[in-house]
Amino acid sequence: MPDTSTWRPRLPPAARLRHDQVRNTDVLLLPERVIVLHGSGRAVLDLADGTRTVDEIIAALAPDPVPDTIRDDVTSFLNKLHTEGGLR
């Protein structure tokens, strides 16, 4: 698991973010895999371009002060995606 204080998440070159019109949802496409994005998943990944730390991504999306639940949700979402090979 990456160190979330210094990690600047970015999508791997192979990944494609797009809207799935048939299922009316956003998806992250990887070789052999589709990750369906719920809630603010797409908004989080749009910010995961390698320039922002996890805290900066959260700050850009959440009200100030950031509620703990949002911080925990986004951090665990990013970590889970990293484990699945969907983020670097």
């Binding site: 192979a14 494609r16 799935d20 048939v22 299922r23 998806v27 070789p31 090979g85």
Partner: protein, 371 residues
């Protein structure tokens, strides 16, 4: 009847032609001739329809898809339709120029087959001097920053090389490796006795996989597909009949799985004649074993029926002559004991290399000896 949920993936078998002669090949024993292959324009229409139906991924496969001179055009039409494209190749014929043209056409990722970690053994199993081309192809893919998957079909003749295959995957900088024990279809079924591993081989390889998983800690994704003849539980074949993906064969025949052409009376539709939506949602072939209504005992009351869907219809047919029987790979099947008999050690016959137009002379006894 409510419409089935949309498919996620399309396996596009662009050609059955292949320079390799792998005895485990899952292509049908009766290979489609090149003169019967769909045109690039017909594939473009299929990709457009597939995307409208909900397909997100397409695997450009074969045979060897690089033998299609118009592969760049085909790839571009798939990418233009919005599909995520993966080339499934032996690596033979993948020059720098060809790969650049494919990347320019929108290719997203490459899956490369490897038969063995040792060059000489790999070439023997492939029936073609292909190993050097594979190594070069892997390097070209990585130079272009494309994700590289390595696919190894495992069997008696390469399972003992599992550690060396993992070392190869690391050295070639693969992003993932699929270690798939042979599924017995097509040529693989014909060669079943020659390919069947021993329980000891499988157990040792499984332990090695676990060791590599720990050592690599997710830096290289490992998929390990155990053979259903040994597991006692049937595989959730294709994620269910007509549930996740569809296969279009070189001549346009459209199937719920690549092996389904072998099922008699299936009346497989062709993508040239009917719309893909009709084929997916309404054709008798795609509805034949969809859901759970078709199931016999003991599947129909089994709590696993929505997990493994009664296993594989093509395997049930190949082994029992009845596609609607419980997959003999299931320990609850009345045919299971006869299947286990096939896994007992014996003297393996020689491998029969795949080749075109040999089907008539190659009728082998592949069905179970059911009393």
């Amino acid at each position: 009847m409510t419409a089935p949920t949309p498919p996620w993936a399309l396996l596009a078998e662009l050609t059955h032609a292949c320079p390799l002669r792998c005895a485990y090949c899952s292509n049908p024993v009766e290979l489609t001739r090149r003169s019967q292959e769909l045109t690039a324009g017909q594939w473009a229409d299929i990709f457009r329809q597939a995307a409208q139906l909900g397909v997100l991924h397409t695997h450009l496969s074969g045979g060897e898809p690089l033998l299609r001179q118009d592969l760049e055009q085909i790839t571009r039409s798939a990418a233009d339709a919005g599909l995520y494209t993966q080339l499934v190749t032996s690596g033979v014929g993948l020059s720098a120029e060809r790969l650049d043209a494919l990347v320019d056409a929108g290719l997203h990722s490459v899956q490369l087959s490897v038969q063995h970690a040792d060059a000489r053994r790999s070439d023997e199993l492939a029936g073609h001097p292909a190993f050097n081309a594979k190594r070069q192809a892997a390097a070209l893919v990585k130079e272009r920053n494309l994700p590289l998957g390595i696919n190894v079909v495992l069997h008696r003749h390469n399972l003992d090389a599992l550690d060396a295959l993992m070392e190869l995957a690391v050295a070639w900088e693969a992003d993932r490796i699929e270690l798939a024990n042979t599924q017995f279809y097509g040529w693989g079924l014909l060669n079943r006795a020659a390919l069947m591993p021993s329980r000891e081989q499988l157990a040792a390889a499984g332990q090695q996989v676990e060791g590599w998983r720990k050592r690599l800690d997710g830096t290289l994704e490992i998929t390990w597909v155990i053979p259903d003849y040994f597991s006692g539980t049937p595989k959730p074949c294709m994620g269910g009949w007509g549930a996740v993906s569809l296969t279009v064969t070189p001549d346009g025949t459209t199937l719920p799985c690549p092996a389904a052409a072998t099922l008699p009376g299936l009346d497989a539709p062709n993508a040239i004649d009917g719309s893909l939506r009709w084929i997916w949602e309404e054709s008798p072939a795609f509805n034949a074993y969809r859901g759970t209504d078709w199931m016999p005992d003991p599947c129909r009351s089994c709590e696993r029926r929505t997990e493994d869907f009664g296993g594989c219809r093509c395997q049930a047919f190949a082994l029992t002559g009845d596609a609607a029987r419980t997959d003999p790979a299931c320990s609850l099947s009345s045919d299971h004991a006869a299947l286990i008999d096939l896994t007992r050690p014996g003297t393996p016959p020689p491998l029969i290399p795949r080749r075109p137009a040999a089907a008539g002379r190659l009728r082998a006894r592949t069905a179970l000896q059911v009393p």
